[in-house]
């Protein structure tokens, strides 16, 4: 799809950002991203501020996707920690969350204030339906690659039924399904 000729990824600047710079960098990121901050995170970290090389970014992202928690949340912690230890991690995480937290509470206050108004209620019903639609789109994108793999697809269906239909609590469901899925994967390879 991408027709632009391959160009060398920018080199990292080689200068460790300060705690303040980490806060400001992730603050800007938190303000910009709507429905997916990850592509913007790459641009900010690798291309604009050049804190990380492309390979280093991919490596850290691999770790962050492996662990529980949001990818970009974990990425902010890992980047902060790498450059400035615990204060850096705290600054990066706080920067990332500061603006969205304020925005979301302001939106909540507006909703509270006008929730009785039928027009506002209808608008929010439409908004919630569209948000559900975006989630359906995301789920479809995650499920589609599994369509030719009967075992992973079956596990995804099992997981869906347990959580959505039978409303099994997440902790026991994960304790059974996750090791089962990993073991199947392991045996399938052997």
């Amino acid at each position: 799809m991408d027709q632009t000729p391959p160009r060398l990824p920018p080199e990292p600047a080689g200068v460790a950002p300060t705690v303040g710079a980490l806060f400001r960098g992730f603050l800007a990121l938190g303000l910009m991203g709507f429905g997916g901050v990850l592509p913007l995170a790459r641009r900010m970290l690798v291309e604009e501020r050049r804190w990380l090389g492309a390979a280093e970014f991919a490596d850290l992202l691999g770790l962050c996707q492996f662990l529980p928690g949001g990818n970009v949340i974990n990425l902010s912690v890992a980047v902060g920690l790498r450059f400035r230890g615990v204060p850096g991690a705290a600054a990066a995480l706080a920067g990332l969350l500061a603006a969205p937290s304020v925005v979301v509470v302001v939106l909540g206050a507006v909703y509270d204030r006008f929730a009785e108004d039928p027009a506002v209620r209808h608008a929010f019903a439409g908004l919630a339906a569209a948000a559900a639609g975006l989630l359906i789109g995301l789920a479809a994108k995650l499920v589609w690659p599994l369509r030719r793999q009967p075992v992973p697809a079956g596990l995804a269906v099992l997981c869906f039924l347990a959580i959505a239909v039978f409303r099994v609590p997440l902790l026991p469901a994960l304790l059974v399904l996750a090791p089962f899925s990993v073991l199947l994967r392991h045996w399938g390879r052997a």
């Binding site: 938190g30 939106l107 608008a123 019903a125 919630a128 569209a130 639609g133 997981c159 994960l174 899925s181």
Partner: protein
């Protein structure tokens, strides 16, 4: 709607450590606990707040901050946010130090690949649970399907789709 701070802290700390594949995978559990287990809000209220949070910038789990704020004010927002993002961040910090050692380990690839179908199932469950109430009428189901189709088939910014959904709702078509 109100909830005790320790209850909020425990709930979100647990979800923080279970959020494999990102925040959306714990969405159905979040709704189940908020609505069915604790009775802190109705499913419709949960979905309205989820929709609202999707319209905010930043990482996609800001609904946690909003839920904390709705249930226990400013302290609720702070406690919920810290509980949702703190424990997983701690794990990240610890894992970062060991990453060099386990990055190329065969079990790491098996675990990561094994979690893919689980995440797909969990996010699908989240979509179904949210859609069950958020798309309860025929016209709202139409909005959800249209938003899903457009998000898959086009590169339209999600904010446009949320805005179009809100505008359609505002037009009042197909309501009560």
């Amino acid at each position: 709607m109100s909830a005790p701070l320790p209850g909020l802290a425990l709930l979100f700390a647990e979800l923080s450590l279970l959020a494999f594949g990102g925040g959306n995978s714990v969405l159905p559990e979040m709704q189940r606990r908020m609505v069915d287990v604790h009775g802190w809000m109705t499913a419709a209220q949960f979905n309205a707040l989820f929709g609202l949070a999707q319209a905010a910038p930043g990482p996609n789990m800001m609904v946690v901050t909003l839920l904390g704020w709705r249930l226990a004010g400013v302290w609720g927002a702070l406690v919920a946010t810290a509980a949702m993002f703190g424990p997983s961040s701690l794990v990240t910090g610890i894992a970062l130090r060991a990453w060099e050692r386990f990055r190329h380990a065969p079990w790491r690839r098996a675990v990561q690949a094994g979690l893919v179908p689980v995440t797909a199932g969990l996010v699908s469950a989240g979509a179904a649970v949210v859609a069950a109430t958020a798309a309860g009428t025929l016209s709202l189901a139409g909005v959800a399907v249209a938003a899903a189709a457009l998000s898959i088939a086009t590169k339209l910014h999600p904010l446009w789709l949320l805005g179009l959904g809100a505008a359609f709702g505002l037009s009042g078509m197909g309501f009560d």
